[in-house]
């Protein structure tokens, strides 16, 4: 989908455990698309920027590769292309755009981009489409509706309110726009560790 170069994980699944009593849980971390994004704040050339719709993107044609945004992101969401990434013909055939982030190139920073091209077509982002467990919802916070892979649409505020949703390291003031629903009524056993 994104032709993500080896070594990068745009969405990385961590095994989190909040304290030594609670069970562990899987914790997928995309880019949080922070509303007060520390990465966009520090970028010296505006290569990392936040769009009006709130999506944070990186312009690989402007990025100077200073990696200051990696220093600023508390979520470890960003990766740097240390070498020229391996290419495929399909990837190279595409015309570069900030909404795609490919063809990939060395010496620049990349991260999860919330698939703005799919949003344009009214589709779910690649991760939500691929999640056959229907765990990922995606939508517009202003419209207050989010949808998952099964096509179930629910009210965002209601979901968060009723299921005790939280966002990760909110206390840093980054205003992340990815929310998590804590595990309850587990169907599958908690991961060990």
């Amino acid at each position: 989908m994104h032709f993500v170069p080896p070594g990068q994980e745009w969405i990385k699944v961590f095994k989190n455990r909040d304290n030594h009593v609670a069970d562990a849980y899987w914790f997928p971390r995309p880019c949080m698309q922070c509303d007060n994004s520390p990465c966009a704040k520090v970028c010296p050339v505006g290569a990392t920027f936040k769009r009006e719709d709130g999506i944070v993107l990186v312009d690989q044609e402007r990025c100077i590769g200073c990696r200051y945004c990696i220093a600023a992101c508390p979520y470890g969401s960003r990766s740097f292309n240390w070498v020229e990434p391996p290419h495929t013909p399909q990837e190279l055939a595409a015309k570069y755009s900030v909404e795609l982030n490919y063809p990939h190139r060395k010496g620049v920073v990349e991260k999860c981009i919330f698939c703005p091209t799919l949003a344009r077509e009214g589709k779910l982002p690649a991760c939500a489409q691929a999640c056959t467990m229907n765990a990922i919802y995606f939508g517009d916070q202003v419209e207050d509706v989010v949808t998952n892979h099964a096509g179930v649409s629910v009210s965002f505020t209601q979901l968060i309110r009723e299921k005790g949703g939280f966002s990760f390291m909110e206390d840093l003031g980054t205003e992340p726009r990815v929310w998590y629903l804590p595990p309850r009524d587990r169907v599958y056993a908690a991961p060990k560790g």
Binding site: V42, V45, A47, G107, M169
Partner: protein, 513 residues
């Protein structure tokens, strides 16, 4: 004391002839630089992947060098500006050396950032799209200002000497004479010219101080403005500024010792210069130790989990060796070396009873030190305030080092300049290490845990490319400095020629200590 006609001639000596040794030295430096250029070519060709850097530890020794060189650039500001403004007249023979360090350290330090960049060819984007909310822009502006300012500040007081070169070195090659003639700007040394020059220098001296302070403050803010544990600290600005002046003085002392030896400048660089600067170095050392203590103690006491991870790495983890070496041998030992010979005034007793035992005591102390320093950190991997072993270990190391120091005291008192110079070398090494220790351990312990990645991605070891470029940077610095000293008098002639009169009229230099 009467004016010795020979004193100034010493200063022109290095400008006149180049020995074979000199050419050999330059060739050696050029070889190192050439090798570094090749390493940089490899890095440009294959990407930053040839370094030991990866997504977690994405900054390494390039950044360390950057902070280090910007740090020693503060030598010039302190000596020439602060001492000039406060009227410490003994500074006169060392001002130019100090200012030249500033200029060349900036010329080397600034580009280290460019070497660290993934797309150096897009450097101009900083001007085209620069955004002022980014601390990198603050750095760009402030370092550019500092380079411009210190170039002017180096050049202005050089004009009368350039005129002397123009007038005296008439048998120099044409290109050299051309440079002297052009740069001297038609200086004749009239009263009005002198007055104007002195005003200009005085203004620059005041202007350059805030710029210098700002430079190292914004360098620290690159780190301080992020949310990373170990970096996000409010004292980073002043901490870095103090560290910069500290390492700047150490670098200057080293340069003085070398020039004095190579160019036979004993008539200019007297013991008092080393002693005065040594005392300044001692003061900065103590202030720096104080800052270090206050930084780490707040982190220890607060017990924030994220902070503890960084501290564990420093105190007992991967960086313990470097950290304790830096604290003990880099900060504390120099403090004693610089301080003790002044404090303890008992005459050295070479015939004391201990003389026979001395080698044994020394060897014993060394053995204790070695055993303790290289023994495993502690049984449990995590750092705990209450666990006694680190304390015991620490104490025995301190006692062993203290014993060695005590034994070395008579020697140190007999060789005060050598002692100061050795302390300066230790301090410079420690300050390089300090910058490394600021940058890397924090990157080892990000807020989002490191999970499921290859070992090399989460750890950092500089590769040959990084070491080569680092060696090249130091070689380049030494080369520029050497060539400068071969081209222009390294001691300000017009500023020191009045000095002997002052010395005759009641040792003004000493009065300002």
């Amino acid at each position: 004391m009467f004016r010795q006609p020979t004193r100034e001639d010493i200063l022109f000596e290095p400008l006149k002839s180049n020995s074979l040794k000199f050419y050999g030295f330059v060739a050696l430096l050029l070889a190192v630089i050439g090798w570094a250029a090749y390493a940089y070519y490899v890095q440009l060709r294959d990407g930053l992947g040839v370094t030991g850097l990866r997504d977690y530890v994405f900054w390494g020794i390039y950044m360390t060098n950057f902070v280090f060189f910007i740090g020693i650039s503060h030598a010039g500001t302190l000596i020439s500006a602060i001492l000039r403004v406060t009227g410490a007249e003994w500074r006169r023979p060392i001002t130019r050396m100090a200012e030249a360090i500033t200029v060349f350290a900036l010329l080397i330090g600034g580009p280290m950032i460019i070497i660290d960049m993934g797309h150096p060819e897009r450097l101009l984007n900083l001007l085209r799209y620069g955004r002022f909310q980014s601390p990198i822009l603050w750095d760009l502006i402030s370092i550019a200002t500092y380079i411009t300012g210190s170039l002017m500040y180096l050049y202005l007081p050089m004009i009368p000497d350039l005129a002397q070169c123009r007038d005296r070195l008439t048998d120099a090659p044409a290109w050299k004479r051309f440079i002297y003639r052009t740069l001297a700007l038609g200086w004749r040394g009239g009263e009005e010219q002198k007055h104007k020059l002195e005003r200009g220098v005085a203004i620059m001296a005041v202007l350059i101080i805030p710029v210098a302070v700002s430079v190292h403050t914004v360098v620290s803010w690159i780190f301080g403005m992020t949310l990373r544990p170990g970096w996000h600290s409010t004292i980073f600005g002043p901490y870095f500024v103090v560290g910069a002046i500290f390492s700047g003085i150490a670098a200057l002392l080293l340069a003085m010792a070398i020039f004095r030896k190579v160019y036979h400048l004993e008539a200019y660089l007297e013991d008092k210069h080393f002693r005065n600067l040594g005392l300044l170095l001692l003061v900065m050392d103590i202030v720096y130790i104080y800052f270090t203590l206050s930084e780490y103690l707040t982190m220890i006491y607060g017990n924030d989990v994220a902070d503890q991870r960084v501290l564990q790495l420093l105190f007992t983890g991967d960086f313990a060796m470097a950290f304790w070496a830096m604290i003990l041998v880099g900060f504390l030992l120099p403090a004693f070396m610089l301080g003790l010979p002044n404090l303890i005034t008992v005459a050295p007793r070479p015939t004391a009873r201990l003389t026979v035992l001395r080698p044994f005591v020394a060897m014993g102390a060394l053995a204790v030190f070695a055993v303790m320093a290289f023994s495993p950190a502690s049984a449990s991997a995590s750092f705990q305030l209450v666990s006694l072993w680190p304390v015991v270990r620490m104490l025995s190391i301190v006692v062993a080092l203290g014993g060695l120091l005590w034994l070395a005291l008579p020697w140190m008192r007999a060789h005060s300049i050598a002692t100061i110079v050795i302390a300066s070398i230790l301090i410079n090494l420690a300050m390089w290490l300090k910058r490394y220790i600021i940058i890397v351990p924090t990157l080892y312990s990000p807020r989002t845990p490191i999970q499921d990645v290859p070992w090399e991605w989460a750890h950092y070891a500089p590769t040959w490319v990084e070491w080569s470029i680092t060696a090249g940077a130091f070689a380049m610095f030494i080369l520029l400095y050497t060539l400068f000293s071969k081209m222009f008098p390294i001691v300000s002639i017009w500023e020191t020629s009045g000095e002997e009169h002052a010395a005759a009229h009641g040792a003004k230099g000493e009065a300002n200590v």
